[in-house]
């Protein structure tokens, strides 16, 4: 084959450009530590990267939802425990004072019941994060008020509040006042305020009727059960939140791993690649200089 001077120049030029371009790519991969620096580097990979990123962002959000729901559930749980104790105390009072003959002591017990009533009311009206916990959907309305005769009224509703813990997965996180306190929303429920008021009234009643007090035992027991079953529901919710959280944590780890496999440049490989490209580039530079240094016939003519 005939070789002309321009041919040599063209080949050297295109060789240099190609090697320089590949060197630049190798350098970019190291500088950004990423295999995919633009969609065209790996279109399918880019689609996966975006999908994984979206999944990770969603998981983070689910975990946020779960964390805030967990602390709300924990808080509710503490309240229910207190409520349980208070109702237990009321039961205790019934047991101790159903045959109390001393009006003074009965009066003292009645005051104790009053105190319990107030504490239960305070629990029922607890706010969490600025919202009433037991008001159903009416989170900015104080759910329970009472009149001078200790007749309590519920202003909330039986609205359920769910949170999102996954794709299409929701968990109910609230308990309403009519489930825990008035019992209107549960089968064979009892209104704990009415029960406490009845106990107070029975203790204060003149003449005193011991059977009126002891007959309240059943209702108070029902109230305790009502709170207990609410607490059980809360703990199931908590368990479910925790399980879901663990699931997401594990899932996220594997997604992050998969993302990194597609997206991140392995530094060792990238450096080796860069060195290979550097060598290629340098050798084409060397070839170029050799080629232009080369003696031509002109040098040998006198």
């Amino acid at each position: 084959m005939r070789v002309s001077n321009r041919q040599m120049v063209n080949i050297v030029k295109s060789d240099l450009f190609r090697n320089a371009e590949q060197l630049l790519k190798a350098e970019e991969r190291i500088a950004t530590r990423k295999l995919i620096n633009r969609p065209s580097d790996d279109p399918i990979g880019m689609g996966k990267v975006l999908d994984y990123r979206k999944t990770i962002s969603s998981i983070d959000q689910y975990n946020n939802n779960i964390v805030s729901a967990k602390s709300r559930t924990e808080f509710t749980d503490t309240l229910l425990e207190n409520l349980h104790d208070l109702l237990g105390q009321a039961k205790q009072i019934v047991a101790e004072h159903s045959n109390e003959l001393d009006p003074e002591l009965r009066q003292g017990a009645a005051q104790q019941v009053e105190g319990i009533y107030d504490q239960v009311l305070a629990i029922a009206n607890t706010k969490y994060d600025g919202n009433y916990l037991f008001a159903g959907h009416q989170t900015d309305t104080q759910p329970f008020t009472n009149d001078a005769d200790y007749n309590a009224t519920y202003h909330g509703d039986s609205g359920k509040i769910n949170i999102i813990v996954g794709e299409g997965a929701q968990v109910r996180i609230n308990l309403t006042g009519d489930e825990v306190f008035t019992g209107a929303a549960v089968a064979s429920g009892t209104n704990v305020f009415d029960d406490l008021k009845a106990l107070k009234d029975a203790l204060e009643a003149v003449p005193f009727d011991p059977s009126a007090v002891s007959s309240l035992t059943d209702n108070l027991e029902k109230g305790v059960n009502q709170v207990e079953s609410a607490a059980v529901r809360q703990s199931i919710t908590y368990k479910r939140l925790e399980t879901t959280e663990n699931h997401w944590d594990k899932f996220k780890t594997s997604i992050v791993d998969m993302l990194s496999k597609i997206e991140d440049a392995d530094l060792a490989t990238a450096i080796v690649e860069l060195q290979a490209q550097e060598t290629a580039y340098e050798s084409s530079l060397a070839t170029a200089s050799k080629m232009f240094d080369k003696k031509s016939l002109i040098d040998f003519l006198g």
């Binding site: 969609p39 065209s40 790996d42 279109p43 999908d51 609230n174």
Partner: protein, 602 residues
Amino acid sequence: MQRRDWADKRRLRKGAFFKGLEELSMSGIYGVLQTGMRSLLAQQRGIEVTGHNIANVNTPGYSRQTINLETTTPVLTSQGMIGTGVTARESQRVYDQFVGVQIANENEELGRWDAQKTALERVEIVFDESSDSGLSKTMGEFWNAWQDLVNNPSGNVERVALLSKSETLAFEFQNTYNSLTPLQDDLDISIAATVDEITLKAAEIATLNQKIIESEGGDVHANDFRDARDLAVKDLSLMIDVTTYEESSGSINVTLRDGSSLVRGANTSELSTMVNDSGHKDVVWASDPTVSINSTISGGKLKGWIEVRDVIIPEYKKNMEDLVNGIKGVESTEVVTGAASALSGGEYFTISSPTTGYYVWYTKDGTGTDPAPGGTGIKVEILATDTAAQVASKTAAAIANVADFDVSVTGGATIAIANVVAGDVTDSADNDTGFTIAKRIDGGDGVNSLHRNGFDLNGVSGGDFFSGTLAGNNFEVDAAIAADVNKIAASGTAAGAPGDNANAIAIAELQNALTMKSNTTTFDDYYNSMVSSVGNEVQHAGMSYDHHAAMVSHLENYRESISGVSLDEEMVNLIQFQLGYDAAAKLISTTDEMLQTLMNMV
């Protein structure tokens, strides 16, 4: 001194020598002189051609030339045939016509993909998601903000955060969409500039045609003009699809692939541009300036640019519009002024007036949804089986329930509205003017349609969440919500606000709903596959470019191998001709000496 005399005499006789060269062909000592003379001239011509080659070693498109040396006609003498020396025929360029055509063909593809590649690389930058900060992330944050609202539906912080994320989303979408337009405009400039360049190249070819016709004839080859013309055709093929054929006169005709002529002999047809319906520049013939020839252009940069500008970018824009419409859950709106006859069951329509702001909404098939903005609408339940007359009378009855309106049905299906009242003030001047009935056809679940199903913090029905369109350059969060975050409808029931988050859940779950592409894919996947397809297009253009660049470079090498100048070769030729020249000179001086010897004998 004597030698110079001889030389002078010889020069004087030069005319006679040349004149009688062929027929004279005399042998003898003078014949030797003439042979030497011819050899000198021929070798000198060889050195000239070699010099021309050496000088053009770096000239683009140059084909090396060779000199044809031939023996002159011998003379027949009594001693037999005696040679009379050498003559230099015309110099010829060394050239392979076929390679030239192949290069031009490949160049068309090279130009096309080069144009696509560079234009698409700019599109790719618009959709850059590699840095973890693109539209994809913004969309994710938007949906996450809805989940935050789920966690605390009455929280002001969550509502403000959602508003801000929504505004970012709308802005990013609009911004990305708008960034595509300047790319199209830039391509307009490139296209117009290229069209001008094509005209210039065509004129150059026509001029060269003229020169070639004038100078060629017989053995004469206009080598350098032909090289220049070949180069011009090659440049032209990079810009547009051309075919050429040479006429016997030596001039070439250049036509576009559709057969229309660009250069014919010394005449050219001019290309120009016109502004098309979408405001972009189309290529036209200057002689027919209103007929676009865009669709017939099949190669070169023009093809690449036109494809990116008119097919690829509009497709991406359309995809983004579809995505935004999907997110909004857009309804198509159609104005049906005055008459209900155009309505059938299952459609919404509104009667709105700029002065009153009243809305009348139809709901679909008794599903009971009441999408009236601000809750001021009238709900009319229409069944799919309702006739136009039934639609009209139901609507009229519903409107008449609002005391402010005076409604009658005429002609069976036309609703006439009179005595329009703005607010509480009776405005008789308004009469039935200023009203438009627009029917709205629900486009499936989206943020807007779900948002209208919900209730805001005040227990009022939600309005549209997003308003405007990308194409209208006004896609944004609805002004009412931007002004008051309490208007975000998180609740599923009017009574349920503020604690009810059912509607916020419904909207948040849209993220994973199969809403796009006839309910087969999610918003995120739709966008992701769009980014992937941008990447694919760039990669494809890049690969095609590389492929054709390799082809062209291979062909160029082949061409250079045939036509390129090799300095080594020229050096050899130079020495060869120099030696020939020296020897011819020696021949003359020897003959001179012989003549002197002869003279001295006298």
